[in-house]
């Protein structure tokens, strides 16, 4: 589904990702771990198409297409979803309006008729239950005045609404208490299917107790330095990132 080969990425002439390769197949959950500032969020943003990052070499193939040539919204319509680490507030735009626009633009891209209001509202109701999101949140402006936990739940809710084929969750667990963490994890698990995949970016092993990954990668200084099964996360938790630096030098 996703194939990244020898990716190099710079921002303001500073190289952040230095030769990263990654293969993600349908049905898989990949976890990417690593210390701060090693390029995890950059990788997520590059896959989503954030323009400030400059891909200096390498390629990203997604569903047999060159992802780097696609516009941000085209990638989204092709099923790439980024759960933001810091979801932005959009004053005055209600969640309902925002989601309806997104759903129907993506349907239009796929040549489908837009959902009617009642179909859309029914869909919202169904998905709200899935992530245990309160109705009042969807009547408010996008992320405005949401608590940290509400923002993250809102990202999972949007993911449920848009049913992506490749979802990248950028530190969705940070700042969550254990209950919210479970809600987020349950949401993800409910959406797992043989034809979609997840990349879960996290600092801590904690989330991986609830979302069990098939593959764990360790990102360090812009490269994947270690890949293993879910036990790698435990090992990392135990030994800390210092262990990596030692083994890497």
């Amino acid at each position: 589904m996703l194939s990244i080969k020898n990716l190099h990425v710079s921002v303001h002439h500073k190289e952040i990702i230095r030769g990263l390769s990654l293969e993600v197949n349908a049905g898989e959950v990949h976890a990417i771990m690593g210390p701060n500032g090693t390029g995890k969020s950059t990788l997520a943003a590059v896959i989503a198409g954030k323009e400030v990052f400059e891909v200096t070499s390498g390629e990203i193939i997604y569903k047999s297409r060159n992802l780097l040539e696609m516009a941000v919204e085209e990638r989204a319509s092709e099923g790439i979803f980024l759960g933001f680490q810091y979801p932005v507030e959009i004053p005055g735009v209600s969640m309902t309006n925002f989601m309806k626009t997104a759903v129907n633009e993506q349907r239009k891209y796929k040549g489908l008729d837009p959902l009617t209001a009642s179909e859309f509202l029914a869909l919202m109701e169904a998905k709200k239950k899935l992530v245990d999101i309160q109705s009042k949140l969807t009547n408010r402006s996008v992320n405005e005045g949401f608590s940290g936990g509400e923002k993250k739940k809102n990202e999972i809710f949007q993911m449920a609404m848009l049913e992506p084929t490749l979802a990248i969750l950028d530190e969705t667990d940070s700042g969550l208490d254990i209950d919210a963490l479970k809600v987020v994890a349950n949401g993800v698990n409910a959406l797992r299917r043989p034809d979609n995949a997840f990349i879960v970016i996290t600092h801590y092993q904690r989330l991986l107790d609830y979302i069990v990954p098939d593959v764990v990668h360790v990102l360090y200084e812009g490269r994947i330095v270690k890949t293993g099964g879910k036990e790698l996360a435990l090992e990392l938790e135990e030994k800390g990132y210092e262990w990596l630096k030692e083994s890497n030098s």
Binding site: A48, G49, K50, A71, V72, E73, R75, A76, S77, F81, L82, F84, P87, V88, I90, P91, G92, V93, S94, T96, N97, F98, M99, K100, T101, A102, N104, E105, Q106, Y109, P114, A117, F120, L121, N139, S141, V142, Q158, L162
Partner: protein, 492 residues
């Protein structure tokens, strides 16, 4: 409609009517209606004014008022202080009177020129449908002449007078004589003087004591004929304890010449009365090269005469090549309230210099100004507003929030507040910010699959939400669409 109902409707509306239908960026209302017109010869002089007055069968005092205004106008010069570049206007090259022909008393909709009715259907305001479904009383003014006022009979039952200005001059001369020129004197400014001399029609509305007008009153203005100016005049008098909500919409065909629209709107609110005046202004803005378009030079002013009265202006300005407009409130009575909510969008070569004046004269008066300017393309968009607290306006308050949003680096956004305070117990607060549309917000929308233009439409509508919420429901959805359409082609 009671305001709580409107609010509920809006929430519902929002879930049902989202901006998806907007697909074409062209000016949708740019057709010309082929109706037989009766016009005056080009140019302006006392004979033309006499011609207009006699066409309308006016009493002598009205002709005198026109002539007095004309003579005053001759002594005046156009205002030069606005942040606008205006080509010289040749006032002798304008037709000051154009009316659909034949003009006779219309008794029912069946008698209206079918071509004209089709025009209104294209505008989305089928009079018949409006009448049946929405319960909105519509007065339609086409090229200066009021064509049909629906619902008058129903309103008459409540003692409400809602008719064309010409009709009011004939049937209620005492009211017109008493109130006309009270809020906007004939010599108030260059364009008001011109209007007072040559105004051809408009709407008149009188709400008697203690009556809450049960439906929205509405006027649609359209300039149709070439080479004409439109000079309509609206007068709203809300007697003690009454309430009315009034809406105004405007469109014009696409022509490559500039056409002049110099209107006057006057509102008088007596003790405990409330008037809400909403405008969606969508005159033809000219083409992408800046050719053609309407010069919209409008004087709107209300006086809160009686204690506890309230006047509220809401405007969505997306059209016109040049907008020069400052809907104002004179807070004369004690405990009166003035409000101004505005969204002004400029794109391509459009220019807008718009804002308000809040003149506090009574004690414990209160005013609120919320202005949202959005500039794109090569346009210039200015907020200009005066807040004045007179010596006797004890314990009065004003709050102003004037924000500007820039789309692109070739446009300008300007804020020109004027604050004058002459007593120690009043409080005036003004805040303004200018920024561009946030890259983070755009990216967030696009990551969810929303294209650039829709994303901008969405964000801009959110930005303007505070003002759009003030519009009657009938207007809110139209205004939202207009905002998005006006900005198409502005980015990318």
């Amino acid at each position: 409609m009671p305001s709580y109902l409107i609010r509920e409707h809006q929430v519902e509306k929002e879930q049902h009517d989202i901006l998806s239908e907007v697909t074409s960026g062209d000016y949708k209302y740019g057709f010309v209606t082929d109706i037989e017109m009766e016009t005056a010869p080009k140019g302006l002089n006392e004979d033309i004014i006499r011609f207009i007055s006699s066409k309308k069968n006016e009493p002598a005092w009205m002709l005198e008022y026109r002539l007095k205004s004309y003579r005053k106008w001759l002594e005046m010069t156009p205002p030069g202080w606005a942040h606008l570049k205006i080509n010289d206007i040749d006032y002798q090259d304008i037709i000051y009177y154009a009316a659909p022909k034949p003009k006779k008393e219309l008794q029912s909709l069946d008698e209206v020129d079918p071509e004209l009715l089709r025009t209104f259907e294209k505008l989305g305001i089928s009079l018949e449908e409006q009448k049946r479904l929405s319960g909105v009383a519509v007065d339609a003014v086409i090229d200066s002449v009021s064509v049909k006022t629906t619902f008058s009979e129903t309103l008459a039952g409540l003692g409400i007078i809602f008719c064309s200005f010409s009709e009011a001059v004939q049937k209620h001369p005492e009211l017109v004589k008493q109130y006309m020129g009270m809020a906007v004197p004939y010599g108030d400014n260059y364009f008001a003087a011109l209007n007072s001399a040559v105004f051809s029609d408009g709407s008149f509305c009188y709400i008697p004591k203690g009556v809450r007008c049960p439906i929205e009153l509405s006027t649609y203005f359209r300039i149709n004929a070439a080479g004409t100016g439109q000079f309509e005049r609206t007068l709203i008098v809300a007697d003690e304890g009454s309430y009315v909500s009034y809406m105004e919409g405007c469109t014009a065909p696409m022509r490559d010449e500039n056409q002049l629209h110099a209107a006057v709107v006057e509102i008088l609110a007596m003790k405990d009365a409330e008037v809400k005046y909403s405008t969606v202004q969508n005159w033809y803005p000219g083409n992408k090269k800046g050719e053609g378009g309407i010069y919209n030079f409008v004087t709107k002013r209300g006086i809160c005469k009686g204690n506890n009265s309230k006047i509220s202006w809401t405007q969505v300005e997306t059209g016109s090549a040049i907008t020069w407009k400052y809907p104002s409130v004179v807070l004369l009575g004690d405990h009166t309230t003035g409000e101004f909510y505005s969204v002004a969008v400029t794109n391509h070569h459009q220019q807008a210099d718009t804002g308000t004046k809040m003149i506090h004269l009574g004690k414990h008066t209160k005013s609120t100004i919320i202005s949202k300017g959005i500039s794109a393309g090569l346009s210039n968009n200015s907020y200009r507003g005066l807040v004045r607290m007179g010596k006797k306006a004890e314990q009065s308050r004003n709050f102003s929030q004037c924000d500007s949003l820039l789309l692109g680096d070739q446009c300008g956004a300007h804020t020109f507040p004027y604050i004058k305070v002459e007593n120690k117990s009043s409080i005036v607060e003004h805040e303004a910010t200018t920024s561009k549309i946030s890259d983070e917000q755009l990216f967030y929308c696009m990551q969810r699959g929303i294209g650039t233009e829709s994303a901008i439409g969405l964000i801009v509508n959110g930005y303007a939400k505070e003002v759009l919420n003030k519009l009657p429901m009938e207007f809110a959805v139209e205004a939202q669409k207009l905002l998005s359409v006006s900005l198409e082609g502005s980015v990318g």
